[in-house]
C-alpha cells in the first residue's frame, strides 16, 4: 500500500497531502490505520446498509437469523446425537450442537458475504475511492446482528435446561473476536481472489462444508487423538468452537494447546489476508 504519507482526506481536519504512486511489490506494505480510522463512519454506513437490505422483501425477516442455526441444531441432534450416538460431553444434545452452531453459522455467513463484497460492490469500487478493506470488514461486522438474535435463543435454552455458565463466560467476547478475525482473514483472501477469479464464489460453499467437518461442530474435539490436537488446532475455528462450548456451558475443553495453535493461526491468516488484499487493492477496480 503506498498511500502512506501522512493521512489523507481527514473529514474534518486540515487537508494533508496524498501521494499516488504505482503498486510496489509484496514487501511494500504499510497498513494505513489512521486512514481506516478516518473512514470509520463509512464502515458504519456499510454495516447499516447490509442490515437494512438483508431482510428486505422477506416474509419473516430477521427470524431467519434464528431459524437457520435452530433447524440445523434439530437435524444434528437427531442424526448425530440420537442415531449416531456421538458423545456430547455430558451436555444435552441440543445445547451441545447449538453452542457450536452459534459461532459456526456466523462464520459461514460472514465468510460467504465477505467473499462476495468486491463483486457486489463493483460499481462503487470503480467510481469512488475508499479503503476497500471496509467492505469485507463491514460484511463480517454486520453478521454479528444475526449472531445476537441467535444468542438470545441460546439464553432461552440455557434457562430451559437449567445450565448456569460459570465465570468462563467472561472470555466469550474473546472467542467471538477470534471468530470475527478468522472470517475477516479468510474473507480478505477470498474477496480479492473472487474479484479476479469468479470461480472462488463456487468454491466457497464447498470450502465451508468441508471446513465444518474439520471443526468440532458435530463432535467434541476430544475425539481427535491427543497428539494430533495441535495440528487440529491449526484450523482456527476448532479453537473458536471449543472455546464457545467451554465458556458458555462450562463443559468440554478449557483453552489448551489446541486453542493456542488456533490463535496463532488466526493472526497469521489475518496478516496474510491484509497483505494480499492490500497488494490487490490498488488495481482491483481494473479487474473486478
Amino acid at each position: 500500500m503506498s498511500f502512506t504519507t501522512n493521512s489523507t482526506w481527514r473529514r474534518d481536519g486540515p487537508a494533508i497531502g496524498t501521494t499516488i504512486t504505482p503498486q510496489k511489490g509484496w514487501l511494500d506494505l504499510n497498513l494505513n490505520l489512521r486512514e481506516l480510522w478516518d473512514y470509520r463512519e463509512l464502515l458504519y454506513f456499510f454495516v447499516w446498509r447490509d442490515l437494512k437490505v438483508r431482510y428486505k422483501q422477506t416474509a419473516i425477516g430477521a427470524a431467519w437469523a434464528i431459524l437457520q442455526p435452530f433447524l440445523t441444531m434439530l437435524v444434528f441432534s437427531l442424526f448425530f446425537g440420537r442415531l449416531a450416538h456421538i458423545p456430547s460431553n455430558g451436555l444435552p444434545h441440543s445445547v451441545f450442537y447449538y453452542s457450536a452452531l452459534l459461532p459456526w453459522v456466523y462464520f459461514a455467513g460472514a465468510l460467504q458475504n465477505a467473499t462476495n463484497t468486491m463483486v457486489e460492490n463493483q460499481r462503487v469500487i470503480t467510481k469512488v475511492y475508499f479503503p476497500r478493506l471496509l467492505l469485507p470488514a463491514a460484511a463480517v461486522t454486520s453478521g454479528l446482528a444475526d449472531f445476537a438474535f441467535g444468542f438470545v435463543v441460546f439464553i432461552g435454552m440455557l434457562l430451559y435446561y437449567r445450565i448456569a455458565p460459570g465465570p468462563a463466560i467472561l472470555l466469550l467476547p474473546f472467542f467471538l473476536l477470534l471468530a470475527v478475525l478468522t472470517a475477516l482473514g479468510v474473507g480478505l483472501w477470498l474477496s480479492a481472489l473472487n474479484a479476479i477469479y469468479r470461480d472462488v464464489r463456487y468454491v466457497v460453499p464447498f470450502l465451508i462444508q468441508f471446513w465444518m467437518f474439520a471443526s468440532p461442530v458435530a463432535y467434541p474435539s476430544n475425539l481427535v487423538p491427543e497428539r494430533w490436537r495441535g495440528l487440529y488446532g491449526l484450523n482456527p475455528m476448532a479453537g473458536v468452537i471449543e472455546g464457545f462450548r467451554w465458556s458458555l456451558t462450562g463443559h468440554g475443553q478449557p483453552p489448551n494447546i489446541l486453542f493456542a495453535a488456533s490463535t496463532v493461526m488466526v493472526l497469521l491468516l489475518l496478516a496474510g489476508g491484509v497483505a494480499y488484499f492490500q497488494k490487490m487493492e490498488g488495481t482491483i477496480a481494473d479487474v473486478v
Partner: protein, 477 residues
C-alpha cells in the same frame, strides 16, 4: 512550509523544461486572491496506466490460468523463435495497451480545468488515478486537499433503500460525514424536487427522479478538489441547466475542479484552463479558448472532406466521376460553428454532353431528420459539356443547430434522372456557440437554431392612486 517548497521546486522544473507556454498561460488567467491561491493542489508527473487488452471486459477464470500454464512451454519456444520481432506492446501472448502515457500536470487551488479529448483519449483513466480509484503503472502524483469524485450519477445507490436512506448512503460513500448530510438533508431533497417520495424505495422512482436525487446528493459535496466525469450527460435539459448553474456556483467558491466533458460550451463557460488529451498523452494545455479550438479543429475534419486523387477509385460511372466534396467553414478552416455556417464544395468530372446537369444536396441530422434539400442547376438549357465542374454552395450561419450532420449527394440529368447518387458521402460537425443563449449553456433544443431579430419598446404608466409605477413592455419580432 512544505507547499511553498513544492511550489518553488515545481517552478524550477518548469524552467528547466522550458515549458513556459502552459505555465504562463494559466498564471496570467488565475488572479490570486490570497497567497494560498497559488498553491499547487495537484501535481502529477509521468503518470502512465497500462491495461491488458480485454482485462476490463472479461474476468479471468481459473481455466485460463490452467490453459496458460499448459501452453507455457510452447509459448516459451515460440518466443525464442520470434525474439527478433519487435512489437512494443506485446509480451508473450498478452497484449497491453497504454491508456495513459507520461501524463504530467499541475493544477493550482481554485482553478477549474477542463479535461477534453475524444473517446479513449485517457481522460477517465487520468481521473481515476487522481481520485485513487486505481493505481498508476508509472509516475507519481501529489494531491493536497480533500478529494471528491463524481464519476457517475448515483454512486452507491441501493435500489431497495428509500430516497432518505440513499441520501445518507451515497453521501457517505462520496465522502460526506453523517453530520454534514443531516445538515444539508433538506437542501438536497429540495434541490432534487422529490419531497413526496423521500420514503419510497428508489427502485420505484422514475429514471428522471432517480437522476435528480443522485445528482442532488453529489452537488452538495464540498470537497476542496472535485473530479467530475461527464455526469451532466444525463437528465433532461432543464435539470442539466440547473446542474451547470450549481457547478458554476461551486467553482466560484474557490474550489479546484477537474472537469471531463464533451460539452464544449460548458467547458468554455466553466473552465479557466483546459487540457487536451490525445491517445493517452497530454497533447496540450492552456487557456480554455485556445485548447477548445484546437480540439474542435482536430475532430471537425473527420469525414467532412473527401478527395479522390486517384480516378480509378473515385466513385463514378459512365456519366460522371467524383473528384472531391468538402464541407468547410467560409474561411476555409475545418471548424464549423453555428455562427459561421458552412461552405459546400463539390468537384466532379462530367462525361455527358448536352443535358441539364444539376447537383442535389440533402442534409440529415443524427436523428435521421432531413433538414433540407437544395439543388444547384448548372446547365439550365441542356448544354452540358464534357469536363470538370466545380460547384460551391453556402449554408448560412444561424441555421443549423449544433450537432453532427450527414450529406447525401446526387448528380442529376434533366432534373429527373439520377446519374450518380452517394448517400452519407460526408458528414460534418456544427460546434455550439453561445449566440442568443445569454447566460445559459449547452445545446439549445430544436432542429434549427435561427437568430431572430427581436426588438422591444417600453412606455411608463403612472398611477395617481398609488406611488407604484409600472410599465407595459412590448416585445415584437
Amino acid at each position: 512550509m512544505a507547499s511553498s517548497a513544492v511550489q518553488s521546486e515545481n517552478a524550477t522544473r518548469q524552467l528547466q523544461a522550458g515549458d513556459t507556454s502552459s505555465g504562463t498561460c494559466y498564471r496570467v488567467r488565475t488572479t490570486p486572491v490570497n497567497p494560498i491561491m497559488n498553491d499547487l493542489v495537484i501535481q502529477a508527473e509521468d503518470l502512465g496506466k497500462r491495461y491488458r487488452i480485454g482485462e476490463r471486459e472479461r474476468y479471468l477464470a481459473l481455466r485460463d490460468l490452467v490453459a496458460r500454464a499448459a501452453s507455457a512451454p510452447a509459448r516459451l519456444f515460440a518466443r525464442r523463435k520470434s525474439s527478433s520481432s519487435n512489437e512494443p506492446h506485446t509480451n508473450g501472448d498478452r497484449s497491453y495497451i497504454w491508456a495513459l502515457k507520461e501524463a504530467s500536470l499541475d493544477i493550482r487551488q481554485g482553478e477549474v480545468v477542463g479535461l477534453i479529448g475524444s473517446n479513449g483519449a485517457g481522460k477517465t483513466t487520468l481521473l481515476k488515478i487522481l481520485s485513487r480509484i486505481t493505481k498508476p503503472t508509472t509516475g507519481r502524483a501529489e494531491i493536497h486537499g480533500r478529494v471528491g469524485s463524481l464519476l457517475e450519477v448515483g454512486t452507491g445507490f441501493h435500489p431497495e433503500l428509500t430516497g432518505r436512506e440513499n441520501i445518507y448512503l451515497s453521501g457517505a460513500i462520496l465522502g460526506m460525514s453523517k453530520r454534514e448530510i443531516t445538515r444539508k438533508f433538506d437542501e438536497i431533497v429540495a434541490f432534487a424536487e422529490i419531497e413526496k417520495f423521500i420514503n419510497t424505495p428508489v427502485k420505484h422512482y422514475s429514471s428522471g427522479m432517480y437522476v435528480r436525487l443522485a445528482f442532488s446528493v453529489a452537488a452538495h459535496l464540498e470537497p476542496e478538489i472535485l473530479f467530475v466525469d461527464e455526469v451532466l450527460a444525463v437528465g433532461d435539459a432543464s435539470f442539466q441547466k440547473k446542474c451547470l448553474g450549481k457547478m458554476g456556483q461551486v467553482s466560484r467558491e474557490g474550489r479546484t475542479i477537474l472537469f471531463v466533458s464533451h460539452n464544449m460550451t460548458a467547458v468554455r463557460a466553466l473552465c479557466s484552463r483546459a487540457i487536451l488529451m490525445k491517445d493517452g498523452v497530454v497533447a496540450s494545455s492552456g487557456a480554455v479558448a485556445d485548447i477548445v479550438d484546437e480540439y474542435l479543429l482536430s475532430t471537425a475534419h473527420e469525414g467532412s472532406v473527401r478527395e479522390w486523387r486517384d480516378p480509378s477509385v473515385a466513385p463514378g460511372n459512365e456519366h460522371v466521376r467524383m473528384s472531391y466534396i468538402r464541407i468547410i467553414s467560409p474561411e476555409g478552416t475545418p471548424v464549423i460553428d453555428i455562427d459561421s455556417g458552412a461552405q459546400i464544395e463539390i468537384g466532379f468530372e462530367n462525361f455527358r454532353k448536352n443535358v441539364h446537369l444539376s447537383v442535389k444536396v440533402r442534409v440529415t441530422n443524427s436523428d435521421g431528420v432531413v433538414l433540407f434539400v437544395s439543388n444547384c442547376f448548372i446547365n439550365s438549357d441542356s448544354n452540358s459539356r464534357c469536363g470538370f465542374y466545380q460547384v460551391k454552395g453556402k449554408i448560412p450561419g444561424h441555421l443549423l443547430n449544433a450537432g453532427r450532420y450527414f450529406v447525401d449527394l446526387s448528380v442529376c440529368k434533366d432534373q429527373r434522372w439520377v446519374l450518380l447518387q452517394l448517400d452519407g458521402v460526408v458528414s460534418f460537425e456544427v460546434a455550439n456557440t453561445a449566440t442568443g443563449r445569454g447566460a445559459t449553456m449547452g445545446v439549445a433544443p430544436g432542429v434549427i437554431r435561427p437568430l431572430l431579430s427581436w426588438s422591444h419598446s417600453f412606455e411608463e404608466v403612472s398611477s395617481s392612486s398609488t406611488n407604484l409605477s409600472c410599465g407595459i413592455s412590448h416585445v415584437r419580432l
